[in-house]
């Protein structure tokens, strides 16, 4: 987030000092980053939460800090919280046996929604089985779960589902936009230092323009996140959270694909790390009903901010004048 460089710098330093995922989690908890609850009371807090999730995703794709923050946002302050929480999306079944997709595969507890939109919690010990839904999301801390309906607890007093789900969409978009931004920066640095045909790749216009488009995609993604956080503060319908998720689901994936392409062979390796960022962007795209659901949410929220007297379009552009 462009306005939060101090938080970004502090987190970057913390995560760079803690290469091991477990140590990074402990350090985040110790410094209070995991206690942030991105709610509608403060756009600054929401932005900080997005920064935490995104920065952690850049350095530790498997940590699922975003899932934890999204889950704590969904729960009311009084609800019991586990040390490490996740979110179950697309929970469905016949009531007795339910399945869903868990974001935060190693979480101790999860929150989610029944098809009727009631908020529920699930303890990890009650999950009957887990399976990876898609191979390439395996290390993006996502898994499929099955659970008995009787093990699902209704959470009373939770935020309205509309807001809670938008908060999860917001965090998913934040992570994806952050890793896409990191991938763009790294690509720019790589093109500047990599020589081919006797000159740096960064001197080739065709490659410059590609990176410009990556940067513009990230710029729009960040703008939508800032706008969403502001909408929460203003008490408006959080439409931009879904717009951010829809955008990140398309453009962050595209941006990271370009980063892989522009790195050449090394981009295709796990060693470089950009591949794991692609999985984070795909996580944003695929969870919470995928692009179809995000598009539906965006369209349903469209209403004119200003409604002057409707123009009689039938009178416009007199056919005789065309």
């Amino acid at each position: 987030m462009t306005t939060l460089s101090s938080e970004q710098a502090a987190l970057t330093a913390l995560l760079e000092r803690n290469h091991d995922g477990a140590a990074a989690w402990d350090a985040l908890a110790r410094d209070g980053w995991l206690d942030l609850v991105p709610d509608r009371s403060s756009w600054a807090l929401a932005s900080v939460a997005a920064t935490v999730a995104g920065t952690a995703g850049v350095y530790h794709p498997q940590l699922a800090v975003g899932a934890h923050l999204a889950a704590t946002a969904v729960l009311p302050a009084a609800a019991p919280r586990a040390r490490r929480m996740g979110v179950v999306t697309d929970l469905a079944g016949d009531g007795e046996s339910m399945t869903g997709t868990a974001w935060g595969a190693e979480a101790d507890a999860y929150v989610g929604w029944l098809p009727d939109q009631r908020v529920v919690s699930i303890n990890r010990t009650d999950i009957e089985q887990t399976a990876s839904p898609m191979l390439f999301l395996e290390d993006a801390s996502v898994c499929r779960i099955a659970v008995a309906g009787s093990s699902i607890n209704i959470v009373e007093g939770a935020d309205p589902p509309e807001c809670a789900r938008a908060q999860v969409a917001f965090i998913l978009a934040a992570e994806a936009t952050a890793v896409a931004t990191a991938a763009t920066s790294r690509t720019g640095e790589y093109l500047a230092q990599r020589f081919a045909f006797g000159r740096p790749l960064a001197g080739q216009q065709v490659l410059q323009h590609r990176v410009v488009d990556m940067r513009l995609a990230c710029l729009t993604g960040s703008a939508l996140l800032e706008r969403a956080a502001t909408e929460w503060t203003d008490g408006a319908r959080p439409r931009s959270s879904w717009a951010a998720k829809l955008h990140a689901g398309q453009q962050s994936v595209w941006t990271i694909e370009q980063a892989i392409q522009l790195h050449g062979g090394i981009g295709f390796t796990e060693e470089l790390g950009i591949a794991s960022w692609l999985r984070i962007a795909q996580r944003c795209r695929l969870l919470m009903g995928g692009q179809t659901q995000a598009a539906r949410e965006v369209l349903e929220s469209v209403s004119p901010a200003i409604t002057p007297q409707p123009r009689d379009w039938a009178l416009d552009f007199d056919p005789g004048m065309g």
Binding site: T220, H247, F317
Partner: protein
């Protein structure tokens, strides 16, 4: 909708419907009858205090803030209002005259612009100097009596065929001096030796013209600022032009709401069109946020507004004509014609004000630190 200015705008636009046939953007009337109606509407807009409220009180404004101007523009775009015929004068010429003009130039021109009675055209581009403006060749030579004699050719000049005044960038130094040899002039378009030839575009209209200068004599005080300051002045106006184009994104915001309204009226959902519209809404919403006065584009990336607007504009226009073609009975014929016109005109924005390819070079070098290629 809480501000007094916005309320005034809303009340005014209810009583003063935009002129028929006026498309989005800086469009030239297609007939004398249209010109008469559009000029009347433009003057009425000025008279209502809705054209230059951001100007200083001294020049007819009320010093409205950027956020107030933003909301005013939002009201006008939502109503489907076109830009006034004075938009070049208001946004490009007047700021330069306020900054660089003599007292006499300011007194001569600013009240006329503020009243809506003076239409200006920008005379910058040439057949071999568009995005590479520093290569322009139109010459202005000063005679012994101080008068300037202008010879050359300009092109892509909006409103040139109806304008009273031209804002001319001409070479007063040598070609080798590039941008350092340029000066700015204020030119009466009815001067002897000025020839205007409208250019028919792919819209079917002639919004632009070619303008030829055959030894056109200008008074000594026709120069704006000192000789050699033309490039600095033109860069200021080009930056303003890009900001104006970025601000046109409010027109996109209003347009996607109309498109959404039409899609909702279709009996059975069309997932393909809905998905495209939703993706465009997200992109436009992001750009709207970036062009809010309190936010702004990051340093070095200012040109992104024009690039993003112009390309989203093409996409939304394409979506509109796709809808009109797929569901002809759901789209009023007038709206379908407007969408068709929007599509054709949208191609111009990716070229004008610095072609997007040139602006991507600028973004790469100034925004991302890449070397010149």
């Amino acid at each position: 909708m809480t501000g007094e200015l916005q309320q005034r705008a809303l009340a005014w636009i209810q009583q003063n419907q935009p002129p028929l046939g006026a498309g989005a953007g800086s469009r030239a009337p297609r007939s004398t009858d249209e010109e008469t109606r559009w000029r009347r509407w433009t003057i009425d807009l000025h008279t209502a205090g809705l054209a230059v409220p951001h100007w200083p009180v001294r020049w007819g404004g009320e010093e409205a803030s950027d956020p107030q101007m933003r909301e005013l523009a939002r009201v006008l775009r939502a109503a489907g209002a076109p830009l006034p015929l004075t938009d070049v004068a208001i946004n490009l010429v007047a700021p330069a005259i306020m900054a660089e003009g003599t007292e006499q130039q300011q007194l001569s021109h600013l009240p006329a612009i503020a009243s809506g009675s003076a239409i200006w055209t920008q005379l910058f581009s040439e057949p071999s100097a568009g995005s590479d403006l520093a290569a322009l060749r139109t010459r202005a030579v000063q005679r012994a009596d101080g008068a300037w004699v202008v010879t050359g050719q300009k092109v892509w000049n909006t409103y040139a065929n109806i304008a009273e005044w031209g804002f001319l960038l001409a070479r007063t130094g040598t070609i080798e001096e590039r941008h350092r040899g340029l000066s700015m002039f204020l030119v009466p378009m009815n001067s002897p030796g000025v020839k205007i030839v409208p250019i028919r575009e792919m819209t079917g209209d002639a919004d632009f013209s070619e303008v030829f200068f055959d030894a056109v004599v200008l008074e000594p005080d026709a120069i704006l600022g000192a000789p050699g300051l033309g490039w600095r002045i033109s860069m200021g106006t080009l930056a303003a032009e890009r900001l104006v184009v970025g601000g046109l994104v409010l027109g996109l915001e209003a347009e996607y709401q109309r498109v959404a309204q039409v899609l909702r009226s279709i009996a059975s959902p069309d997932p393909e069109l809905e998905a495209r519209l939703a993706a465009l809404i997200a992109e436009v919403d992001g750009l709207v946020w970036l062009t809010e006065p309190a936010v702004g584009l990051p340093a070095g990336l200012e040109s992104a507004g024009k690039v993003l607007f112009s390309e989203l504009n093409v996409e939304l226009a394409q979506l509109s004509v796709d809808i009109a073609a797929r569901y002809p009975s759901e789209v009023p014929v007038g709206l379908a014609r407007r969408w068709n016109d929007n599509y054709a005109y949208s191609r111009g924005y990716t070229i004008s004000g610095g072609a997007n390819e040139v602006l991507r070079n600028v973004l790469a070098q100034r925004g991302l630190g890449f070397p010149r290629t």
